[in-house]
């Protein structure tokens, strides 16, 4: 493989690295198969029992390591259940006793039978458990055969680990700073590899298709861009030089910008904006604080509900929210209540398949449909006020009656919690997301019922422009600077100002420095974004005046097309901040 080749996947964990590949190949275990005499059957059964014990001890060790990193392994615990299952052991023993098979053969035969059973089941969640059984049995077989289980414990330092997929146990063996990057064929935005890589701050690309793994040899150079979700295998010297330069530029810029992290985002003429972080995991909070986050503007709670079969109860949710508010205290954290639908349907809520999930049962609509879920979550969030400063944010509202319902339930639950002896719950703020054109247009009617607005620009743009940005045919129409979108934001800010409530923006638009003057001048008071963008935004805002930002906005609001607006905004920002935009946007 001497030709440079590029492959795309899901951007799982940010960062750019150039390093040699380390391919985790699953050794094909050749199972010894031989007949045994009846007299040695008890000894063979004993050998199998010892292999189970050894495997259990090894997995216990991994589990302890996982607890150290603070990653609780629900997925992992299933493997213990299977390891202790009487069916597995009893049937393997019977294969030894009655069929006269050696232990390895006996166990392998039982695994095959179980895998056939699992494969015949329609429920995908149950069917997937087959791989857990396979993983456990493989470890027992390796113990029987005196083989070391393959894993990442022995991965050389500084490599990019490449694999078909990585089990939670294998990921748990990784230490911060040990490997340079991770790329897998399997996995998605919510899989355990993604979650663990992000918390360990290891750049990662998952779900990378294209057959690149088959021919990849150890030591081949790979460029991995975890921010863009791509890998370059065997890059040519020019590409390497380009990446080296880009990486060192980025590092230099980051170091320089980090000086701005602790400073307030206040313009030269005294208008300040709160800079908040969008976060999904408690482990990301230190990163947010280091980059100058002044609180959490969006904490998505879906994570608690994903990759599991049951629903988290009030106590489990409280424990999770408590961890967050305690770490961020004295700053506050905005928790968005469950926003499911679209591609995010957990196994705990088997819902009807929808032909058009983006327009389906999501956010507040789900809460209306399943009010008990909403109540449990509210109780947990309100109770978390004992340990810090949570705020509640309701997603996907489109009618006034939804807001009134959500507010009424919130008030009821809050009064219950206060009455149960927790006066702090009374100060928990209640806000709604403005992410449908309907909500933006009636913001004035909604405002009296809420304590704050948070504009979710990703969905607001998608719904306003009727564009799915992931659709290659029409994605080019997705434009945050479209005049319709700017007018929506303007109107929401006006409604907020009149009602005396804060208006924030938490979509990707907030983190792109090109938009900073526009949002500032439209009247946005809080920007919530990925932590890595905060220092640059602070630097730009501190170098600006509200007067020049307002002048830009009044110019662009007279322009009729998104294209004209973009040219004008980019031109202005680039000439005002040539160095910053040169480095971020490159030459393109």
């Amino acid at each position: 493989m001497s030709q440079q080749a590029e492959y795309r996947g899901v951007p799982a964990s940010p960062g750019i690295v150039l390093a040699p590949a380390y391919v985790l190949r699953r050794e094909r275990l050749v199972i010894p198969e031989y007949a045994i005499d009846r007299e040695v059957a008890p000894a063979e059964i004993e050998r199998l029992a010892r292999a189970f014990d050894e495997t259990r001890a090894r997995l216990e060790g991994i589990r302890e390591g996982m607890q150290e990193t603070g990653l609780v392994g629900d997925i992992f615990n299933a493997q213990f259940l299977f390891l202790e299952d009487p069916t597995l052991i009893a049937n393997a023993n019977r294969n030894i006793e009655e069929l006269g098979l050696n232990a390895e053969w006996a166990l392998q035969r039982e695994l095959r039978r179980l895998q056939r059973l699992f494969e015949s089941i329609a429920d995908p969640y149950i069917r997937e458990r087959s791989s857990d059984v396979g993983f456990v049995v493989r470890r027992v077989l390796q113990a029987l055969m005196g083989r070391e289980p393959e894993g990442l414990a022995n991965a050389p330092r500084g490599v990019i680990v490449a694999a078909e997929d990585l089990s939670p146990g294998e990921m748990a063996q990784l230490k911060r700073g040990q490997v340079a990057g991770i790329v897998t064929v399997g996995g998605s935005r919510t899989s355990h590899v993604t979650i663990m890589a992000r918390s360990l701050e290891i750049p990662a690309v998952v779900g990378a298709a294209g057959g690149w793994l088959t021919d990849l040899a150890d030591g081949v150079q790979v460029v991995l861009d975890g921010s863009a979700g791509r890998i370059l295998v065997a890059p040519n010297p020019e590409t390497v030089a380009e990446y080296e330069k880009r990486r060192s530029d980025t590092e230099q810029l980051e170091r320089r910008l980090l000086q701005y992290a602790p400073l307030p985002a206040e313009t030269r003429d005294g208008v300040s904006v709160s800079m908040l972080a969008n976060v999904e995991l408690v482990d990301e909070i230190p990163i947010a604080l280091r980059h100058g986050g002044e609180g959490i503007g969006l904490f998505r709670t879906e994570f608690l509900f994903m990759n599991r079969t049951d629903l988290p109860d009030e106590e489990e949710q409280l424990a999770a929210y408590r961890d967050v508010v305690e770490v961020i205290e004295p700053l506050s954290c905005v928790f968005r209540t469950l926003d499911l639908g679209g591609d995010k349907v957990p196994t705990g809520l088997s819902l009807a398949e929808e032909p058009n999930p983006a327009l389906g049962l999501r956010g507040i609509r789900m809460s209306l449909h399943r009010p008990e879920l909403y109540r449990v979550q509210l109780r947990a969030l309100l109770r978390a006020s004992e340990f810090g400063s949570p705020k509640v944010l309701i997603p996907m509202v489109s009618t006034l009656s939804e807001v009134q319902f959500a507010r009424q339930v919130f008030d009821e639950v809050r009064d219950e919690v206060v009455a149960s002896g927790l006066p702090q719950a009374a100060r928990v703020e209640f806000g709604v997301m403005i992410e449908t054109p309907a909500a933006a247009l009636i913001a004035e009617l909604i405002a009296p019922h809420v304590d704050f607005f948070s504009i979710g620009t990703n969905d607001l743009i998608q719904y306003t422009l009727a564009v799915d940005r992931a659709n290659d045919q029409v994605g080019y129409l997705y434009e945050p600077l479209h005049p319709a979108n700017l007018r929506m934001i303007q109107q929401v800010c006006q409604a907020g100002r009149r009602a005396g409530i804060v208006v924030g923006v938490c979509g990707e638009m907030a983190g792109d420095p090109i938009n900073s003057w526009i949002l500032l001048a439209l009247g946005v008071k809080e920007l919530s974004m990925t932590p890595f963008s905060i220092p640059l935004l602070k630097k730009i805002l501190r170098d600006s005046t509200i007067a020049e930002a307002r002048s830009l906005v009044s110019d662009v609001l007279e322009l009729g097309s998104a294209a004209e607006i973009r040219v004008h905004v980019e031109g202005t920002m680039r000439s005002r901040f040539p160095i910053e935009f040169e480095q971020i946007l490159g030459n393109g």
Binding site: A78, Y125, T309
Partner: protein
Amino acid sequence: MTCEVEVKICNQLGLHLRAAAALAKLAESFESEVLVRKDGTTANGKSVIALVTLNAPLGTSLEIVAEGPDAEQAVSDLKELVETRFGEAQ
């Protein structure tokens, strides 16, 4: 002593991993042998794998059979577990 009872799976998710684990754990606490039957298939009530692979979604009828000194208690406790939806909200 042998006792037998028929139950219907009434939780949303059916006999999935967590429910099966709860059933197996309760069955394990009895001295009696516990079997769970669906149509012609019989599963060891103390085995999560056997229970999960029975493939029993919402609405499935199961027969729980216990054989041993505490069979009566086992059957009645297990029936209650299934009928209270394994403690799930739905």
